[in-house]
Symmetry: C2
Subunit: 245 residues, 2 copies
């Protein structure tokens, strides 16, 4: 059974304000929950329609009906279970490899895809501007497919962060015009900035960037405005990693 208070808590976790206040977030579905459990994230409560598929402390596990799951789920088609986890602490940013910086990425699906890409390409550090969508937004959590546990995601003033790194680490930014990424020499250690969906990299951040890179467009005389930020990130990380491997 799901108590009235639990329902209220879960519903509140739709909103960033309450996630921050409670230090909790929601994950749904067998696969995602199992990945978070394996990553040793601290469980607050698990609500499931199938008792035997999760090995967790019984005091934290609630067997519920599919109807109840529907009432608390954020998904249109709820999947077996919903779990509430404690938001893990972030660690200090490790500057020894590639650090990806997001300048106001707003779409949860894009952020989820970018986290999954960081995980795939072994980029362990993701620094997000404070206007970037919250990574514990339920839609982001679902889109990451569990890889959220393997990337250190830090929200902070990216202008201050970049100014601090700039004297010692090259700062790359992707623009519509810049050096051809396929021909550029790319380092093992560096910061890469990706911009907002509609506006790209903001002016104050653009001024900090040392190296402007671009993904050349191959279509002749065409008008594709720009690549989606998630697909551009895929190509950029692929190029950085290919060149240092």
């Amino acid at each position: 059974m799901v108590s009235k208070n639990q329902k209220k808590l879960i519903k509140s976790l739709y909103q960033k304000k309450y996630r921050k206040q409670h230090g909790l977030f929601v994950a749904e579905g067998k696969k995602v929950i199992q990945e978070l459990l394996q990553a040793k994230l601290e469980l607050h409560a698990l609500f499931t329609t199938e008792d035997e598929i999760f090995e967790v402390n019984d005091q934290k596990k609630y067997l519920i009906s599919h109807e109840e799951l529907k009432q608390i789920s954020f998904l249109t088609t709820p999947q077996v279970a919903l779990a509430v986890f404690f938001i893990p602490e972030v660690r200090q940013i490790d500057l020894e490899g590639i650090v990806l910086v997001l300048d106001d990425v707003r779409d949860p699906g894009n952020l989820g895809t970018i986290i999954r890409l960081c995980d795939w390409f072994g980029v362990k550090e993701l620094v997000c501007s404070s206007q970037t969508v919250d990574c514990y937004n339920p839609k982001v959590v679902q889109a990451t497919m569990g890889s959220i546990t393997r990337v250190n995601i830090v929200y902070q003033d990216i202008e201050a962060f970049l100014l601090q790194q700039k004297p010692t680490i090259p700062v790359y930014g992707t623009f519509m015009e810049g050096d051809n990424i396929y021909e550029a020499s790319l380092p093992k250690k560096g910061v890469i900035v990706m911009g907002n969906e509609a506006n790209g990299i903001s002016t104050p951040i653009e001024e900090i960037v040392d190296k402007r890179i671009t993904i050349p467009q191959f279509g002749l005389g065409q008008k594709t405005e720009s690549l989606n930020v998630a697909t551009a990130t895929a190509i950029v990380l692929s190029e950085f990693k290919r060149k240092i491997s």
Copy 2:
């Protein structure tokens, strides 16, 4: 004003069955509609809240209120205009460059992103299995941002298509295991198959593939299951185009 019959027609175009029956599809928003008009797609009717922004035959243009737009729109926040266009005829597939083949891609957002990528990378031919989501699905049309007019999209039995090309053109497929795409030599002319979101490339198609390629995972000891099909396509097209440029 939007007549009752027009409303009924527009609503029916949500469904593939009626799009096929009428040979019509819906596009929304100033930018997408203008791109389709510029590409000389034949307009059936345009419904707009701002008369002056579109230069089209007055007999096909209906000035409507924002309330009326809301009633016919497929979007949660309707944008200035909705247009009904005739579905253009496809041309014969040109086998002289890269042909991308989709084996049952089901998500409209993924297909939209892939069409945009084809446009960016100058891949003019996209062959979709009959189970692939319809490219005139309103969500796909929106996601393509107008690039749908610059890619020749053909739905057909891809097994038959691939068997027909195989004797003369190399057929590449992306798998979890295969030749490292960064080290593989890639041709100017070839067919690339991308698989379904959940199941990858299906068994009958896998048997036709000559060259298995893979995007290596850089994260050490990690478990990212696979890349999303749209981001994988971004990386694959980027590599093919980089190597022949």
